[in-house]
Every structure is written in structure tokens, then in C-alpha cells.
Symmetry: C2
Subunit: 454 residues, 2 copies
């Protein structure tokens, strides 16, 4: 099948990816005189910044998703297609979805990024990341299954490994996961078990850099660290994971090597441009940065192809202050709007100055009544930052789709201090504890565990 704007001779813009970048590009082009085809592997836009709340049982996937068809229902120039792009022909102006071909006049590539396991791709199964709905459901399954298995486990060492959670990466996702698991273990679930005491849960957050939340002001990093420690999270900075094997995490802080036995290892580190970026780079003979992101021109096109834009997490844009813009939703959103506007202006023979990111600040939720917000001109922490975080997220959720139900959900959770969405679904709900046995370096790990305290 060939999808082309055959009905008329209008300019055909193909957008690949319905994340923040693709969504806002398509919104900018909605109901204009171009034809738009928005292609995504999924039939919904995902509000990724809240994915950790799915992983920890506060929200359901649908609460943070909007069906793409629904978003563009009233935009008659926009066709949404479910499909996975397998190849791109920049000279022929074609994208391929398996056997299907889609012809474009202008292409916007906005397929985002995945976690990087720093070359150890087999760690993915041992320590799942958090990029998709399936990732979140898998994390949720592992977190809640660990407590369930611990309730049935009589061996103290195995029980300890089941009640040990290691989170790798101290950016917003890692911080938010650690805070949420701490609240689960020490507050929400503390009266719900009969054999185990969930306050014995150990939550260890490992950060490669010298502080948490590196994109935020140092005093707020410190504040986040203190808040997490107060919640019960142990934090190790300047620490790299060197091995994952048999439920033992080996990590290195400076020259000091430690081990800890853990059944639940969660990955929130590293960035790697999505695979289609590599294909585009090969076909168009252009460069990618060390994270596999496509290096873009100041106007977000790629060298040699004025009609191909790369935006969002997949783009490496260093024209503003020498280092790439962070992979966050506001960057993707502004780039999507910029590219949409530029395409419309070009059709009128006009253009735009180069893309300039208007930094709206950074924020991270730590727990109930606890957050940090860095707006540059003002820095907030604690309750006031938490309220600010809520308002900002509610605003965004409402803007992209009227998700008032989330607000209601949060209010209800706040009042009841409960988490309703902790379903263990998908694969068999039972954790295999067979791999935890005395042939493993268990005693060593147990001893090492005590040296972990910070």
C-alpha cells in the first residue's frame, strides 16, 4: 500500500512519533492547508513524566494517555496511522512501514529515546527501564510481586533480597521512583502484611554523577537528597553499576566495590536515541552524538536535507550553549511547535530564525508534600514546590486532553493515602525465588549490604 496525498496536491507532512514533539508539531499543523500523516507504533500519546506513578500503583496507563485519533478528531487534514517505521529513503522522500510506503514532502522524525545500558544490553531483562506503558506495568509487577513473595518467604536472606530495591540513576525518574517506593513501603502498605514488616524495606538509589538531579540547582539537589533520606532512601552518588548477576548488584564508588542482593533492580539511567535515528543517519550520511541522538542544524533540520526535521529526545541540539538540550517534555514541545510553524511559513516563502529553547525550569516530585522546583529566577522546595508540581502537571494534562479524572484520582489518593492501581498483571504473578539460593555469593552480599549505609 502506498499512502500519499493523492486526493489533492497539498504539501504532505509525515510525522513519525506521537510523543510531545510529534504531538505539538501535528497540533501546530492541524486544520491548515497541508496534509499531515502522523505515524506511531502506539495508538495513544503517553504523558511520560507521570509514568513512574503507573509503575508504583497510583495511576492507570489510560490516566496518562490520550488516543491520538481522539486528539486529532476535528483536524480533517490529519490522518493518524498505526505503524512502525522500518526504513527511510531521504532522497526518494519515502518512509517504509514494513511493506508499506509513505511518500512525504516534509518529514518530522520524533521517535524519542530509550534507556542506555552502556553496552550491557542483556541487563534490560534484569533491570527494566521506564519508557513505555509495558515497562511501567512490568515495573509495577516486579515491585508488588517482591512484597508478595517476601510475605511467603521464610529464609531471612531471601526475604531481605526481596525487600531490597535498587534504583540505578538519580535523574528525575530515579528520584521519583525512589520516593514513591519509600512511601509505598513505609506508609501505604505498612499495615497490610502479617509475616513481614515492610518498614524493613531497603531502597538504594545509585547515581553516577556527584549529585541527584544534575539539571537542577545544586541546593535543590541537596534538598532532594535530604528529603529522600528522610523518607528512608539510601543514596550513593559517584557510583557506577559494574555487574548484575544472580540477583546481586555489584557497584563501584571510586575504588570501593560493594555488592547487594536484590530481587528488584530498576533502571533509570542513560539515554540512547531510538533505532530509527541510526537508520536515518546512515541513509542521509549524517552524524549522531555519543548517545546515538541525531545532530541537528540550528533550525532542527539535518545537514543536506532541508525537508527532514529531527526533534525531541532524538535530536542532539547544542547550538544554544554548547551542550545538548536535555531530553525533557518542554524541549520536545517547543521544537514541535517551532517546526510546525516553520513548515507553514516556508510554504508562504518565509522562514524563522534558528530554534531557541525558552527554559521553563525543572521540577521533580519526591513524595507526598515534597518536591523541588527550579525556575531559574526562583527555587522552591517542600510543600510549596509540591503544590507547584501538581498545578503544572494538571495544567499540562488538561491542555493535551481533559484528564480531570487524574486530578480527582490524586485528590482521592491524597485523602485516603491509598494506592489503588497496584495490580500485578501480565506474566505469572509469582516471583521465581529459586535463583536466590545459597550457592550464590549470598553471605558475601549480605555482609556487603551492611557497608552500603550512607
Amino acid at each position: 500500500m502506498v499512502v500519499s496525498p493523492a486526493k489533492n496536491k497539498q504539501h504532505h507532512v509525515v510525522i513519525i512519533g506521537g510523543g510531545f514533539g510529534g504531538l505539538y508539531a501535528a497540533k501546530t499543523l492541524a486544520n491548515t492547508n497541508v496534509n499531515v500523516t502522523l505515524i506511531d507504533k502506539r495508538n495513544f500519546h503517553l504523558f511520560q513524566p507521570l509514568l513512574y506513578q503507573v509503575a508504583t500503583g497510583t495511576l492507570s496507563p489510560a490516566d496518562i494517555s490520550a488516543p491520538l485519533r481522539s486528539v486529532f478528531r476535528n483536524s480533517k487534514n490529519t490522518q493518524v496511522l498505526l505503524g512502525e517505521v522500518t526504513d527511510i529513503d531521504p532522497k526518494g522522500q519515502k518512509v517504509f512501514l514494513g511493506g508499506e510506503v509513505v511518500q512525504y514532502d516534509t518529514l518530522i522524525l520524533a521517535t524519542g529515546a530509550n534507556h542506555s545500558y552502556f553496552g550491557k544490553d542483556h541487563w534490560k531483562d534484569l533491570a527494566p527501564g521506564l519508557k513505555t506503558v509495558e515497562d511501567a506495568i512490568e515495573m509495577r509487577r516486579r515491585i508488588f510481586s517482591a512484597f508478595e513473595a517476601a510475605e511467603k518467604e521464610s529464609d531471612p536472606a531471601k526475604r531481605r533480597a526481596l525487600l531490597t530495591f535498587v534504583i540505578v540513576g538519580g535523574g528525575p525518574t530515579g528520584v521519583e521512583l525512589a520516593g514513591a517506593i519509600a512511601e509505598l513501603a513505609y506508609q501505604t502498605m505498612k499495615d497490610e502484611f502479617r509475616s513481614i514488616n515492610t518498614s524493613e524495606t531497603k531502597i538504594l538509589l545509585l547515581q553516577g554523577g556527584d549529585r541527584l538531579l544534575p539539571h537542577i540547582a545544586p541546593e535543590l539537589s541537596e534538598e532532594a537528597k535530604l528529603s529522600l533520606q528522610k523518607l528512608g532512601v539510601e543514596i550513593q552518588t559517584q557510583t557506577r553499576v559494574t555487574n548484575l548477576e544472580n540477583d546481586i548488584v555489584t557497584f563501584k564508588t571510586g575504588e570501593r566495590i560493594q555488592q547487594i542482593a536484590s530481587k528488584t533492580i530498576l533502571w533509570a539511567a542513560g539515554v540512547q536515541g531510538s533505532p530509527i535515528g541510526k537508520i536515518l543517519a546512515e541513509r542521509a550520511d549524517i552524524e549522531r552524538d555519543f548517545s546515538g541522538r541525531v545532530i541537528v542544524e540550528p533550525n532542527l533540520t539535518i545537514p543536506g536535507f532541508k525537508n527532514i526535521f529531527v526533534i525531541g529526545d532524538l535530536a542532539s541540539f547544542s547550538h544554544q550553549n554548547g551542550k545538548p538540550l536535555p531530553g525533557v517534555a518542554p524541549v520536545a514541545k517547543q521544537q514541535g511547535e517551532y517546526v510546525g510553524t516553520l513548515i507553514l511559513l516556508r510554504l508562504q516563502g518565509q522562514t524563522l530564525p534558528e530554534f531557541n529553547y525558552n527554559d521553563v525550569g525543572s521540577l521533580a516530585m519526591i513524595g507526598q508534600n515534597l518536591a523541588v522546583v527550579d525556575l531559574g529566577f526562583i527555587k522552591l522546595k517542600g510543600f510549596i514546590a509540591w503544590v507547584f508540581w501538581l498545578v503544572v502537571h494538571i495544567y499540562f494534562l488538561i491542555e493535551f486532553d481533559t484528564k480531570l479524572v487524574v486530578v480527582f484520582q490524586w485528590a482521592w489518593n491524597y485523602i485516603t493515602r491509598n494506592r489503588r492501581s497496584r495490580l500485578i498483571t501480565g506474566k505469572a504473578a509469582f516471583l521465581d525465588t529459586q535463583t536466590i539460593n545459597n550457592n550464590n555469593p549470598y553471605q558475601a552480599a549480605e555482609t556487603a549490604q551492611h557497608t552500603v549505609k550512607v
Copy 2:
């Protein structure tokens, strides 16, 4: 591991299954002087009557679930265990969870029922049923993927098969599914596609008996039929499916054999007691009925074992009017409460008269503003029945866990006429249309399709 009430010499009640039967038995025994162990494969109670709303994109799984631990948080005599019972030793008073053994004084078996494929178990993959959260997500994936694939399909015959939905079984689940898919196709999504016209969708409901909703008064069955037809659903009664193969459904009405090509076949027929019922029957040397349900005594025990109760969908109870009680939530709930009370009375040397089901009536949702309600003394239809259906379901949802969020969700959906929860998740989101090709009896099926109209 052996779980036994070793801490004290209190009577130990083991309940297997956290559906309506097990849940209400455990609630009746909460905070009494018996020890209760509630074992379920899942960590949540599922409000099964609303599962069809998950399958059709209105609600999320968590909206109709309650974490069992959360429900029994304040009942200190109740331990919840996640596990799958693999065997029962009635004489030794033990249940086995794989290698684990749980000793009981009294056992309540409440593991429910599955769909019956009438011996054609390989049809399960071709026509998924609707008993679990995973079933609902799989149905949702198939329903929404079919529309997505149709949008990309240029072959008219294949497109027609993608836009044809066959629902097997005209009980409440079949009726509710048919109504919800009709609303999706003809209302919710009608402006969201660019290549297909979703009002060309064909929805065929096949019922073995001579009318829909056999448990309800005949005039309400007729009303349900008329309402569904008005929504656009085609109905065939006295019709059996005789073959499912290569996306072709073959079915027989009297002597007339018809075929229809369909990519989405949904199963809502037949009842079969859960497999553990078979194991119990073998071990205790007792009888099951033709649907594999355990035939129980008037007090819900099994012959020969006064300390083993079977309740809910797994029980075949014919003592009231000669035919087994229907497999509906109110029966299970009342049986759970009866058994809980009987156990407590026995410990005081007392007993109860035999179980007597207090029929609270039947109801089924057909669509927005459309339902049928049969309370025996009064019969309702249309808008008033719909309001009644809402009130009853909201009441039950609130009783077992404060799920006000569902009410909010419904209100919001009602106002916007949207369905937010239509995520295609899990397996690859793409339907394989390769099996639909011209080597299949396609032309025949297409011709036959026209004879299907009622």
C-alpha cells in the same frame, strides 16, 4: 514452607479465591476469633461485571479492582497470600501451592469458572473470552487494532473482515459487549478515521438459545434485542458456531449453515468450573455437573466433608428450584456471607438452616441510556433501567472499595461521549492480515455474509 495458624490454637479457615464468594466470606470472618488465610492467584479482587467496560475502552483495570491487602488491612486475623493452589488433600486438611503446604481446619473453595469452548479448546486463541484483566486487555487490543488495520487496508474484502465483529453468546456479557462495540463504531469513533467509515462496521451477536439474556423475563429479552438492533447490532438466535478457521466463522441456525469473514471473534458463551474443582472432586470422590461445577449439599459443603465448602460460580447448587443457581455476583456474595456465618455459629455449637438464595433480580446494560432490569416484581427498560443499573453498580463499587473515581469517569465519559482507555498494549499492536487472502473461502464468505442479515 508450611503456613499454619501456629501462633495460637484458633480455628484456621483457608479461603481460595478472592472473587465475590471468597471476598464476602472473608469479610464475614474479618476481626472474629478465627484465623483466616485468603489465597488468590492475583493480588486484587476484580469487579467482573464491569470487565466488558475495560475490553471496550471505557474503564481501566484498576478502576474495577481492589487490592486484597488493602481490603483486609484492618482485619488482623486475615492473612492474604498470593499463590495458585495446585492440589488439595481433603482427608489431611491441606492445600498445596506448588511446593508450599497450607493446613486448614475449614476450607472454602471459591475459584470461579471459565468460559467453555464446548470441547474446542483451541478456539480460545481465535476467540478470546472475558474472565480476567488480561482477557479484557487482549479483547481491547483486538477490537481497536482491527479498526487501525482497516484504516490502512486497501483490499475491500480484507477491510470488511476487519470491520466485522462476531460475538458468540447472548448472555449479559455478550449483550454488553455488542452494545459497547456498536457505540464505539457508530458514535465514539465515527469522525476519527480518514480512510474508513466506521459506520460500515458489522456487529453480529450469535446466541445458542432462543432469546438473549435467558435469565431475564422474555419481554425484557425482546426489549434488549430491539435496543441492540436499533444500535446497529445484528442478532441470530438458536445459532451454534460450528467452526472457526482462517478468520471464517461458520455457524448453524437450525439446518442453515452460514459463514462470515471476521478478524475479531469474541467469546461470551459457556461455563466451565475452574480446574481446581476437578481436582477436589477426584480427591474427595464427589460429583460435578455437566459444566464441571462441584455439586454441593444444601449447606454448601461437599458430600463427606463437613469442613469443605464450595461457593460461587464453582458451586452447582440445585436445591432451591431444581436447576443450578446462575453464576452471578449476588449468588456468590450471599453464599460467602452464609458460609462465613455458618463457620462462626458452628464454633459456638450452633448451625444454620440450608442456604436459600434471595433473588435480587437481573440487569444488563445495553448502551448509553439503555438497559434492562428485572426485579421480579417490577421490570424496567430504557433510560430508567439505565439509571437503575448505574445506581446499583455504583452502590456495589462503593461498598467493596471506595471507587468514586469510576463514577467521576462515567460522568465524564457521558458528558464528552468519549472513551479514554482504548490503549492497544501488550503484544505488537499490529494485526496480521496475511491470513486473510484470496486462497481463503473469501468470496463464499462474502456472499454468505449477505444472507446473515436478520
